[in-house]
């Protein structure tokens, strides 16, 4: 590559850039490949449930009326948690869930945008007024976890958090009509 052929030289530069672009392609393929692989094999997705509900009459509705909130175990053994995220508290303030079993968590907001995560787990969702936020997960570790509201919802945002008790199977005893609440410790 003597300097008598600068043009070939420029084509050579673009050649190295093309080679680098090929490396970038491998990089993207690796990143997207992992996402695709886990999505196709063990259904790892961000929460996906577009379910409209009118926030203005939420407290009148059956599913999210005050008495129906908390953890219920269905006849088929499915565990469903229903909770409300409202300005500056979650209801119920303490949620009992089983370990190593599929749990469906459903949240709704009657007023402004909230959001929540459960520390140390993959439960994370925004709670937007007008929609039911639903997350399916399995809790792999037992113990008391923190469930803060992680989206700014007003001046009381910092004090808005709840507790999640992940109970091992032998302590996860629903009562007659399938409801279970936190063990008072």
């Amino acid at each position: 590559m003597s300097q008598t052929h600068p043009e070939m030289h420029e084509r050579w530069i673009l050649g190295t850039e093309l080679l680098w672009s090929f490396g970038v392609g491998v990089f993207i393929a690796a990143a997207l490949g992992m996402i695709l692989f886990t999505a196709l094999t063990i259904s790892v997705n961000p929460p996906s449930n577009v379910e409209r509900i009118d926030p203005k009459v939420l407290h009148l509705s059956g599913e999210f009326a005050e008495h129906n909130l908390g953890t219920t175990v269905g006849a088929d053994g499915s565990v469903t948690v229903r909770a409300i995220a409202t300005q500056f508290m979650f209801l119920p303030r303490c949620i009992a869930v089983p370990a190593k079993r599929r749990v469906t968590l459903r949240f709704a907001s009657p007023d402004v945008i909230h959001g929540l995560l459960i520390t140390g787990t993959n439960v994370n969702t925004m709670v937007v007024p007008g929609y039911v936020a639903q997350v399916h997960t399995e809790f792999t570790r037992t113990g008391d976890l923190l469930m803060p509201c992680h989206e700014y919802c007003g001046l009381g945002h910092s004090e808005m958090w709840a507790t999640v008790q992940v109970l091992p199977d032998d302590q996860f005893k629903p009562d007659r009509d399938g409801r279970i609440s936190c063990a008072q410790r």
Binding site: H5, P6, E7, M8, L36, A39, L40, S43, N45, P47, S48, N49, V50, E51, K56, V57, H59, L60, S61, G62, E63, A65, E66, H67, N68, G74, S78, T80, I84, T86, Q87, F88, M89, L91, R93, R102, T104, R106, P110, D111, V112, V132, Q134, H136, G154, L155, G156, S158, E159, M160, W161
Partner: protein, 277 residues
Amino acid sequence: MSDDTRHSEPNVLDQSWRTWSAVAVVGIMLSGILLGALIIPIVQGRGAGLDAYTAICRALGIIPGSPAQPQPSDRTPPTPVSQVIWTPDVLQILARADVRRGHEKVQEVCVSCHGETGVSIAPDFPHLAGQSGAAIYKQLYDYRTGSRSHPQMTDIAKALDESVIADVAAYYAGQPQRNPNPVTLAEAPAAIVQLVELGDPKRNIPPCAACHRAGSGGPIETPVLAEQRQEYIVLQLKLYASGERRNDVYARMRTIAAKLTPAEIDGLAAYYRAGFR
């Protein structure tokens, strides 16, 4: 310069750019759509026992549910705590209430206990002067539907006809408060000021000001506490704590009142009685 670039006219060189870039961009977009809207939902749907059409509709958000999980069903009868719903037309009624008509009804019904200008005559009757119109509206509505009960108020509220509730609320909301300058007020105990301004993170109590201070962006029906009767605030907090009063939506006040110590309840009542905002 070697030969081929000088002879390649700009538009020939350009044509390859146009085709290759268009092909690349559209190709990447189509692969995204193919994977996101078709392959992933169908494969996940098969795992969850859903047919391809349902899985794709769920992934696109046309029907509720995740393409990878069965959707829980729910059959619970509604038993609401308070029937009041804040819809645009309710807010319009409140905004366009007729204060004069409200004043007439007040003189006819309310003045004996709540006073002409909203200054109540007895300790356990609340002051209504300068109270939030939405708050008065909600309480009257809750008395009518039985979500809240009181020996006199339940019958009075039931006797009022629907249209005059907003007018009464607007009349009392319009009555002036003393609005004392906080600087001149006696020094409030630090613990109480802390509870009002910062709340108590340890007991998960949000600051009172986060909802009760005007313009905090809190719930619509939040009442104004400034210059309220001390005994009335103490009574209501105790009713909330015991759960006897249940018309607070999603148990906001029942949860907080249950955590307050009697000393804090008295301190807060005195704080707001003094006229702090």
